[in-house]
């Protein structure tokens, strides 16, 4: 029995070596970027609040605001380590979860889409080997990540046990997302679809964890990896039992992924599963017999073609963000009600927020930032489709017709603009609808929040423009460089609020320049600057594309 199933794993070791060879730069980069935030946070707190009294003061003044609590949870220990847990764990989980999702899909579905998996699969390689190989690599990378992070925290004279619990808990959360990605990878219609599903899942988990943070006694605080990390109580009891919780959480996902692998055709999602033929996409095609004259409404321009290529992820992001917006509206409503119970906090808040701000607005302002960065995934992957079209040779076919390079590139850039606007406006509108539902002023809230959300778009477009510029100038590095830029910006925004980093460095991130409209900041100048930067970068990319070789 054993010998008859083991052959499904033949070749795993060779594939592990292949993955390590291919990811020899990006994997260490992810680990460094994610872990360096931990000592960064620790050194900031050590400098700003050297003793326990000052740390308590800080927590009392800032950290007990319900919107901050919603984002980061409650502070569990006033030691330096405790503050690192409080401040770093969420950021750390973001970085590892993103790294896990992208790594898994890069080496499984993406390989199938490019046809390389068939080449590999035709060799002496078992059915489960590709998935096993990438899962093993991500698991090892996650553990390495956790150990490095904990060693870094130990450098600040923190207990080894707490540091290790923290590092491993964050690593466990990351690997949980590897499991999610493995399942999404099997079910989605494409690699891009799987990435989008992973991104939306990160967001959705975070939303649930926000509610859980506001109600720590509720079951919701146990429903997300963010919550599990918090429940391990690093430096505040070191609950190793909770750490073991990750095993039953991840195991079903991995079993499901292998279960699906055993039953699906290569490079197919739900439609390729036996018993799911209902979802088969080729069924609908039967109803459109080819008669050239009736095709006039169909795909007849590069713009229409680009819409066909971008529409599925665009609609998925839109739906996902509208759901998240609805939940955020409710959370804002609840947390502002809590805030109002404490007059002292309300007073402090109105000082920070100016005159026009409403209690939930700090939450919205923070979530715009976070969701804006997440939406950069859509913006960058949409822009990078240009590169994918070029590499696959499909661009050649178009460019050999009367379509010029600029027109071709603009047909995709157009959908970045329209897509990001619709998705973020959808988020603002749905947040406004649900946050104003109780008080009955939904219409006003929709306009106010949609407007504030749209102020973030120029920052997203800067990333779009940057990706286009890379594509035009250094196409071979466009994929790696654009994702690294997003990671860097994410890193800067995370460390930025401690004012430890010089403002020069901080200014690199486009998000630093977004006016916080809800906090009463003015629109005009910085927005114009961001829009100008985005246009300039796009123009550079288009000129570069015009001058360089294609393919």
């Amino acid at each position: 029995m054993k010998t008859s199933t083991l052959h499904h794993w033949t070749g795993t070791l060779a594939l592990i070596r292949l993955i390590l060879r291919r990811d020899r730069f990006i994997l260490p980069l992810w680990i460094i970027l994610g872990t360096i935030l931990a000592p960064g946070t620790a050194s900031s707190f050590a400098a700003l609040y050297p003793d326990e009294i000052s740390r308590m003061m800080f927590v009392k003044s800032f950290a007990s605001n319900p919107t901050v609590t919603a984002m980061l949870g409650e502070v569990q220990s006033f030691s330096l380590g405790g503050l690192v847990v409080w401040r770093w764990s969420v950021a750390g989980i973001f970085v590892v979860s993103l790294a896990n999702i992208l790594t898994i899909i890069r080496h499984s579905r993406n390989e199938e889409e490019t046809g390389r998996a068939e080449l590999v699969g035709s060799a002496v390689v078992g059915r489960f080997a590709p998935l096993s190989a990438v899962l093993i690599v991500t698991l090892c990378a996650d553990i390495l990540f956790g150990v490095i992070a904990s060693v870094e925290v130990m450098q600040f004279q923190q207990p080894a046990a707490g540091s290790l619990v923290l590092g491993l808990a964050v690593a466990g959360a990351g690997f949980f997302f590897a499991g999610i990605a493995a399942v999404a990878d099997r079910l989605a219609a494409s690699a891009r679809g799987a990435r989008a599903a992973g991104g939306i899942f990160i967001g959705a988990m975070f939303v649930v964890s926000m509610v859980g943070n506001l109600y720590p006694e509720s079951i919701l605080s146990w429903c997300t990896p963010y919550g599990w990390v918090r429940h391990t109580h690093p430096f505040a009891g070191d609950d190793i039992g909770t750490l073991l919780l990750f095993i039953p959480a991840v195991l079903p996902l991995i079993v499901a992924a292998f279960f699906l692998t055993a039953r699906r055709d290569i490079n197919s999602g739900l439609s390729g599963l036996s018993g799911f033929t209902f979802f088969s996409s080729s069924r609908g095609a039967e109803h459109h017999p080819f008669i050239p004259k009736t095709m006039s409404w169909a795909v007849q321009s590069p713009l229409a073609l680009a819409w066909r290529l971008h529409r599925t992820p665009l609609i998925a992001w839109l739906v996902g963000y509208m759901i998240i917006g609805g939940v955020f509206g409710v959370v804002a409503d609840v947390s502002s009600a809590q805030l109002m119970k404490s007059p002292l906090l309300a007073q402090a808040f109105s000082r920070a927020g100016g005159t026009t701000a409403k209690p939930g607005d700090l939450l919205f302002t923070m979530s715009f930032m976070f969701l804006g960065e997440a939406l950069c995934l859509f913006v960058i992957s949409t822009a990078l489709l240009l590169r994918a079209e070029e590499e696959s040779g499909r661009a050649d076919m178009l460019l050999a017709t009367s379509v010029g390079r600029t027109r071709w590139a603009l047909s995709h850039i157009f959908w970045i603009l329209v897509g990001s606007t619709c998705i973020f406006a959808g988020f603002g509108a749905s947040a406004g609808l649900s946050s104003g539902w109780n008080s009955g002023d939904s219409t006003q809230e929709i306009l106010r929040l949609t407007g504030a959300a749209l102020a973030y778009l120029p920052a997203l477009w800067v990333f779009g423009g940057f990706t286009v510029a890379l594509f035009g100038l250094i196409p071979r590095f466009a994929v790696g460089a654009s994702w690294s830029a997003l990671a860097l910006s994410f890193f800067l925004d995370m460390t930025g609020e401690f004012k430890q980093i010089s403002s020069f460095l901080l200014n690199i991130s486009p998000f630093t320049h977004v006016p916080k409209v809800l906090m009463g900041e003015d629109f005009a100048l910085s927005t114009a600057g961001l829009v100008g930067t985005a246009i300039l970068l796009t123009a550079i990319g288009l000129v570069g594309l015009h001058k360089r070789d294609v393919g």
Partner: protein, 313 residues
């Protein structure tokens, strides 16, 4: 849709002409002083082993790559500078066709046709029938051959003056290959110019008016098949009464294989008369001689020097 029945003498004798084309990728010199000229209205075969630079040349012609040096004239324009306007008059079929997975074949044919400045609906339907392609299926379900058909139909149904076909029959079954040959023969009658890069020598022999053979980015032969044959050897097999001892010492005789009284050899065209006279003197019983096939011609150019160093003038 026949613009010209007879190849026009003026205004442009050549649909495309390339002289001294050089293109490097880093240190690798992909094209090295390449020459290629295609007369208006002819079907021109473009031959060369794998990696010899055929596709790179075509990509330069399409304005996708910028030439490092050389003079290129394509339909009277510059392929890099005038790409968009030239592309209205060109249809291209890549050697390795990848399509948009979620579009149907019909949608893709329609799109490419429109972007080339028009698609003949009647001809499209006729071609779909000839090539037996179901255009309602999503491109992700097509095999390599069917993907190739999508690109071929889109190109053949367009009104382009010049067809640039990069190994267009790779992946087609023999029946479809025959259909393709018929289509190209039709195109020639219509006066369309075709640049046909191919490995299938039978195809080139059957279809092409002139051929250009390249190796390592250089042109090594160019001309009509008759011209090329003139410079090469004829295969001769003879059955004799006596052993042809002096054959080995004669000028222009190569590859002698003797098996008793049977002899096989190849003979330079210029020496053929002298050789036949000698063979007659040896008591000729039977004789077959045959001009070199394109395949032999082709192999001669590539087998002599597998290392790729240039040995010819």
């Amino acid at each position: 849709m026949s613009q010209q029945n007879q190849a026009p003498t003026s205004p442009s004798e050549y649909a495309l002409s390339i002289d001294g084309l050089t293109k490097s990728f880093g240190n690798f010199r992909a094209l090295d002083n390449l020459r290629l000229s295609v007369r208006t209205g002819e079907v021109h075969g473009f031959l060369g082993p794998n990696g010899s630079g055929k596709t790179t040349t075509i990509r330069v012609l399409l304005g996708l790559l910028q030439a490092d040096a050389g003079e290129i004239s394509l339909l009277g324009g510059n392929p890099w500078r005038d790409a968009v306007s030239l592309h209205r008059r060109i249809a291209y079929v890549p050697g390795d066709v990848t399509l948009w997975a979620n579009l149907t074949g019909g949608e893709i044919i329609d799109l490419l046709g429109r972007l080339r400045g028009g698609l003949d609906a009647a001809r499209t339907s006729a071609l779909l029938e000839r090539f037996e392609l179901d255009p309602r299926k999503k491109a992700r379900t097509y095999s390599k051959g069917n993907r190739q058909k999508v690109a071929l139909i889109a190109a053949l149904a367009s009104n382009a003056e010049l067809l640039i076909l990069d190994e267009p029959t790779s992946g087609l079954d023999p029946l479809m290959e025959a259909t393709f040959r018929e289509c190209i023969a039709d195109e020639r009658k219509q006066g369309r110019t075709v640049l046909l890069s191919s490995h299938i020598l039978g195809e080139v022999e059957a279809l092409c008016d002139r051929v250009t053979i390249i190796r390592n980015g250089r042109t090594i032969e160019s001309g009509t098949l008759a011209e090329l044959r003139h410079f090469t050897r004829t295969a001769v097999s003879a059955e004799l009464h006596t052993t042809p001892d002096a054959l080995g010492s004669m000028n222009g005789v190569h590859d002698i294989q003797t098996d008793g009284h049977n002899v096989h050899c190849t003979v330079d065209s210029a020496e053929l008369g002298a050789v036949l006279t000698y063979l007659s003197s040896c008591g000729l019983q039977s004789l077959t001689s045959r001009p070199p096939t394109l395949e032999e011609l082709f192999l001669r150019h590539y087998q002599h020097d597998p290392s790729g160093k240039e040995e010819q003038p």
